[in-house]
């Protein structure tokens, strides 16, 4: 069977139905697989395949496995102890890619894809009923078994219909690379993030009390809460007393969205505890944090959900989603350690490499691109250091980051706490210093507007629609190629047997037995370096890593103060419980 320029001996479409509770690994219930050229089908219920050592279909290097949201099927493979197929194409990922930036009237699920291509589909309610039946787990009646197998088979046959229509628009090689990442996703979801479950339970059970205590302690420095209600007039008074200018809405009211708070805490760090408190009170639903019976946080990593191809896991179910301080719940298991490796100034490095701007590359290679930028622009002497010119460096850093996010002078001025003219001057210096980068960036937008699409090095495409924001297009090469880099690093690391717990934007969290921790982190960093070279045509990005050994817990300095406050409250609760 020829797919594009690739021959496959067998092409299998596969689908599992499985039971899964929050944070747990899937428990496969039934399986249907169908081979494209011979029409051979496999329909099995759990007891018929649980004992198998390998799947009842070929997963060899001359075969192809096709699925919709393949990480789920591949997760079932891992739960059953089966090897993963050598070649995977995920039609969900390809449908997302083919419609990225365009309207999909019924979403990007299997039903959505079928509707998009004009097929009759099972009623959504019926599909949900079947899904819930599978998720229920336990014993099934004969009728339920037949219904589940028929449902599973209908999904498999839907894949046949979809591939016929999608194949002409697919680049098979890039699709296989994305399928390769879905295998890494299955590995990472299988591994999960180790959690201090005891503290998590304490937090969850006492969250109401903790919230009240947090307000009492944090608000003691602000006086802006009444009960659990944030009072904007009292906040305005606090701002006046502290001489902090604050952005306003057109209506004249204070802008109180989290983006504004985040922006302002950069300039006025004393805002930070208040922001964390607001985030904790408004966004954190501890009950939704998905922690399985094996004390691990697991949730769908939602690969390719963002337009840039980035993962977009649930903000409430994923440990890296809610308030930063909650990450202190991450704790390696006994005799284990965890490593958090991230790329240094990744977007700056990507921009430098892909634009071919030599000055920008030199700045990145200097090890401190922000200070180097200040020196190149003539704002700091050649012998300046981070210590001697910290303020200048901070301003040039804010400018370099602002450029990556398409920020304009007004926002940058707020970010650096300086007048708008000074922000304009900084942006002008960026244009002057990195002229080649700006030409490349302009060309990327021109290319997108002329061709109606823009692509990454490995073919993830954004389509230009009526609502496309040029600022997003300008940012796309950095963000989307960064996403390619992360995906490739995940592939390399998991394929080399590194236990990757989760990908986090520009970082990988891994775990390892203590005696191998340093080695495994070094291997992870090598995989990340290799991924950067592949994406950036030989240009290598630096990484740095933090190691945490049991019983140490994960630490993020941005959330340390809040965690300590929460921990004090927990200790008091424990103390009271002991006395009682």
């Amino acid at each position: 069977m020829r797919f594009g320029s690739v021959d496959f001996k067998e092409v299998w479409f596969g689908d599992f139905e499985f039971a899964a509770s929050a944070g747990d690994r899937p428990q496969p219930v039934c399986l249907v697989a169908h081979e494209l050229s011979t029409g051979r089908s496999v329909r099995l219920f759990q007891e018929q395949f649980r004992h198998l050592k390998e799947p009842p279909y070929s997963i060899a290097s001359d075969s192809l496995f096709v699925a919709y949201y393949a990480s789920a099927e591949l997760g079932c493979h891992l739960a059953l102890g089966w090897a993963l197929p050598a070649n995977v194409i995920d039609l969900y990922v390809e449908f997302r890619g083919l419609t990225n930036g365009s309207e999909t009237p019924a979403g990007a699920g299997l039903l959505g894809a079928l509707i998009y291509f004009g097929h009759d589909v099972m009623e959504g309610i019926e599909k949900e009923k079947m899904r819930q039946l599978a998720l229920r787990g336990g014993e099934y009646t004969d009728t339920e078994r037949q219904a589940l197998l028929a449902y599973c088979e209908s999904d498999v046959m839907a894949l046949r219909k979809l591939i016929n229509q999608m194949l002409p628009a697919l680049n098979i090689h890039h699709a296989l690379l994305r399928g390769r990442f879905m295998k890494a996703v299955a590995h990472m979801e299988h591994t999960g993030v180790p959690i201090d479950a005891e503290s998590f339970v304490l937090l969850k059970e006492n969250w109401d009390h903790i919230q009240d205590q947090l307000i009492r302690r944090v608000d003691a420095d602000y006086g802006v809460f009444e009960g659990r209600t944030f009072k904007s007039d009292q906040f305005a008074r606090w701002l006046l007393e502290n001489n902090i200018p604050w952005p306003q809405l057109q209506s004249g009211r204070l802008a109180l969205d989290d983006d504004t708070f985040r922006e302002m805490e950069h300039v006025h760090p004393k805002i930070r505890p208040l922001r964390q408190l607001r985030v904790s009170l408004s966004q954190m639903r501890l009950a939704d944090l998905a922690v399985g019976p094996d004390r691990r946080n697991r949730t769908l990593l939602s690969p390719f959900r963002a337009r840039t191809g980035r993962n977009q896991p649930s903000n409430t179910a994923f440990i890296f989603g809610p308030a930063v301080w909650l990450r202190c719940l991450i704790q390696p298991m006994f005799m284990m350690g965890i490593g958090y490796a991230d790329w240094c100034q990744r977007e700056f490095g990507i921009a430098a490499a892909l634009s071919g701007d030599e000055a920008m590359q030199a700045a990145y290679l200097s090890g401190d691109p922000y200070l180097a930028f200040a020196k190149q622009a003539g704002a700091a002497p050649p012998d300046a250091t981070k210590a001697s010119h910290s303020q200048i460096r901070e301003q040039f850093k804010a400018c370099a980051l602002a450029v990556q996010y398409g920020m304009e002078a007004e926002s940058l001025a707020r970010r650096i706490g300086q007048p708008v003219w000074q922000a304009r001057q900084l942006l002008r210096l960026h244009h002057e210093t990195y002229e080649k980068f700006w030409k490349w960036s302009d060309a990327a937008v021109d290319y997108a507007m002329l061709n109606g699409r823009l692509h990454t090095v490995f073919g993830w495409v954004i389509r230009v629609g009526a609502q496309t924001n040029p600022r997003m297009l300008r940012n796309f090469p950095m963000q989307a190629n960064g996403s390619e880099m992360l995906r490739l690093a995940c592939c390399l690391a998991t394929e080399r047997g590194i236990r990757v717990c989760a990908p986090i934007h520009d970082a990988l969290l891994i775990e390892s037995p203590l005696e191998r921790l340093e080695l495994e982190v070094a291997r992870t960093q090598e995989a990340m370096a290799e991924a950067s070279r592949a994406v950036l045509d030989g240009f290598e990005l630096r990484t740095e890593a933090k190691l945490f050994r049991y019983p140490e817990r994960f630490a993020d300095e941005r959330g340390a103060a809040m965690w300590n406050t929460v921990w004090q409250i927990i200790e008091e609760i424990r103390g009271r419980a002991a006395c009682a």
Binding site: G4, G118, H119, L177, R180, E435, Y447
Partner: protein, 223 residues
Amino acid sequence: MKDTGIKNLGSENSSQQHNHNEDQQYAQNEDRDRTGVAAQPDLFDLTRLRLSQDFAAEIGVKKALLTVPVHRPDRQWFVRVHPDPEFRLEAAVLEMKDDRETYLVDPVLLPEPPGEVIPKVLFTAINRQGVVFLWPVHLPNTDGRHDEWNRSALEAAEMAIGCWIRVASNISLGAYEVFEASADLPDPKWPDVSFKKLLEIAFRDRLIRSLDHAVIKKLQGAL
């Protein structure tokens, strides 16, 4: 497929063509490398999967030069002057101060209109933002005299041939001050346009070739 009116990806011909071409290219590369019948292509050869990010080369969009201002550099600008002597011109210009406009006067009209036309050298200059402009600087009088303003401006323009400078007037000094950029800045990229073309663009609507020109009439009080 039923006609549902819903967009069919199969109709995205350009996208299909794009991917088809990439696949063909990959297949050709593979064929070239195959040394035996049974050789299995490496489906994950990343160097072959990589698409170019040189967007400029693919679209060939070039900036059109439509405006060439004629004025001295803004006091905030760092500027360079074109080193090629072919990119400067000693010319007769007429400056309408009220309108802040500079006109190029055909030398055959000289000495008309008396007292208004000034001999200046027009330097081709560029700022750090890539704005190309003509920088008019007074030439010495026929007796060789040159006031401090004009002398310092001419020296600044000559200095800007070799380095990035900023020029600011200093009333107390009665001359221009020149500030040289200390950073190691790259040389400017001059547009691929002849000086003649620059002049045409700069003086497209401001070329005086006869005494019937509206500006001359205005100066003579005839308008």
